[in-house]
């Protein structure tokens, strides 16, 4: 028997499906799918979480100078006229950032190989475009999920059977983070 399920799909379709499922599970914490798909997704997610747990504290904090546009009380950028041209005024501020050590940077890139980008679009119509944001899923793995599982050796996910699918009778399950 081969080491993985083909899920009745070609290699590219299978990879797309699993990337979708993995991303959704990490983003939402729970997905509903069939047992076969869940077992394949589980294998990948367990690996990603183990990676996040291993590398969660492998960074150095460094101070950098950042150029930040000066804003007035309405939140609008302050402009000044230089040589007859309107230009934004910038302030130099010191910022503390976390810089990945090489192993963590590699882990982040390994994760990004499997994860799809997620965009969060707010429900309300007002300010929908302004408030649409790209979600940093590796950051979620490192900062939210990994600390919860620091003392756990594997078994970060669980499969709960919820019944047979109508039609073809495939077992439907909930795959969730423990």
């Amino acid at each position: 028997m081969s080491g993985y399920r083909k899920l009745s799909r070609t290699a590219s379709q299978r990879k797309a499906l699993l990337r979708n499922q993995v991303t959704a599970l990490i983003y939402h914490g729970r997905i509903i799918t069939t047992e076969a798909k869940a077992k394949e997704t589980q294998k990948i997610v367990e690996g990603l979480i183990a990676l996040a747990v291993k590398e969660k504290d492998d960074y150095t904090t460094v101070k950098v100078m950042a150029k930040v546009p000066r804003k007035d009380k309405d939140g609008k950028r302050v402009k000044e006229v230089v040589n007859g041209k309107k230009q934004t005024v910038y302030d130099e501020v010191e910022k503390e950032i976390r810089k990945d050590n090489p192993a963590r940077l590699h882990a982040r890139r390994q994760m990004l190989k499997m994860l799809y980008p997620v965009t969060e679009v707010p429900q309300e119509a007002a300010g929908r475009k302004r408030n649409t944001k790209e979600v940093d899923i590796p950051a979620k793995l490192f900062d939210e999920i990994a600390p919860k599982y620091a003392n756990r050796n594997g078994g970060y996910t669980r499969i709960i059977k919820i019944g047979q699918r109508r039609g073809d009778g495939a077992m439907e399950v909930v795959l969730e983070l423990v």
Partner: protein, 165 residues
């Protein structure tokens, strides 16, 4: 108890309801019930108990038992909301399921129970979209879905959006 209507009580199913529900499911026609019902009663009981044990606790809803208000020991059917896998969404979709035993049909019980369940779904449970899968030959079920406000979507799928949308 989940909900109460003029004539019905909707409550969580328990192990004691099994024999009645199993009889009902076995006697239902192929187009009325699309999930497979095992011929072996013990196997069916195992599936039923594991369903009650997991689905209610994980989601807070599932298929419930419907009984008459005037005689709560009289189980007339099973209605409720079921989480199902969906090809297009990893979060799955919520399906409305209803089965009323043959002697109690054509009395408006299903409509009454489903209205109460949909009110709960769109209100307290905050669900935004409910689907129903109906066999093309099941005309009565399709008529009920239409009365509840469901719109035909594709193949055997009917959809109802939350009235707030």
């Amino acid at each position: 108890m989940i909900a109460q209507t003029d004539r019905l009580i909707i409550r969580e199913s328990s192990g004691r309801d099994f024999s009645r529900i199993y009889c009902m499911m076995r006697s239902a026609g192929e187009e009325e019930i699309s999930e497979p019902v095992p011929e072996d009663e013990n196997e069916a009981l195992e599936i039923y108990l594991s369903y009650i044990h997991t689905v209610y606790s994980v989601f807070g809803f599932g298929l419930w038992t419907v009984c008459l208000k005037e005689d709560p020991s009289c189980i007339i059917g099973r209605c409720g909301l079921e989480p199902c896998a969906d090809e297009n969404s990893p979060l799955g979709r919520i399906e409305l399921g209803y089965l009323i035993d043959a002697p109690y049909r054509r009395k408006g019980y299903a409509l009454e129970a489903c209205r109460a369940i949909l009110e709960l779904a769109f209100g307290a449970l905050g669900i935004e979209e409910v689907c129903a899968r109906i066999h093309p030959d099941n005309k009565a079920s399709a008529a009920l879905a239409r009365r509840l406000g469901f719109a035909y979507d594709r193949e055997d799928l009917w959809i109802l959006h939350s009235p707030r949308d």
